[in-house]
Symmetry: C2
């Protein structure tokens, strides 16, 4: 699998999740793996890209807003969001954006 | 400066630049620093977030499409784009997206 997501012609949606982690793993690694696996199974999921230094950025791509809404309400994902809020992230920001144009090599 | 960009209420724009580097620096580090400095001086620039592992993701935030267009056409930036295409990146994708909603802690 390429590191850069293969996405269809725009328009489609991007969820940009920027985060700063707290100290220690606290079960984060396993949950992150599980969430990635689960996201890939969701209807409307198009791809994901991720990198972390001190700041982590994960961009997931989705067919439409309904797909994003369903993923946000997924029961296992709700639990991950709860733990993220409570213990894994000292700060985060989620931005939901409509991709209007893309290009690359 | 916070690692997570402080952006205004949506709508605003995000440019998601995902890239894989070639081997060696080849002047990349200096140019990346210069482009960051220069981007911050542009009208309509709102903030930037960046992380790199094997994949690099830089998300810059802009007031509107005109600001993004002007930045893309900036003379120094055009030269950086040319070198990026020619020698710094083995692959990249740029996605221009309208941020419709955001939330965080």
């Amino acid at each position: 699998m390429s590191l850069i997501a293969t996405t269809p012609e725009p328009p489609y949606y991007a969820v940009v999740f920027s985060s700063v982690r707290t100290e220690g793993d606290q079960g984060y690694g396993n949950m992150a793996d599980r969430m990635l696996e689960l996201a890939k199974q969701q209807e409307g999921f198009l791809g994901v890209e991720s990198a972390r230094e001190e700041l982590g950025i994960t961009v997931s791509y989705w067919m439409d807003l309904d797909s994003i809404k369903r993923w946000k309400q997924n029961a296992e994902h709700l639990e991950a969001q709860r733990l993220g809020h409570k213990q894994w992230y000292s700060s985060f920001k989620t931005r939901i954006a409509k991709v209007e144009r893309d290009y690359g090599i």
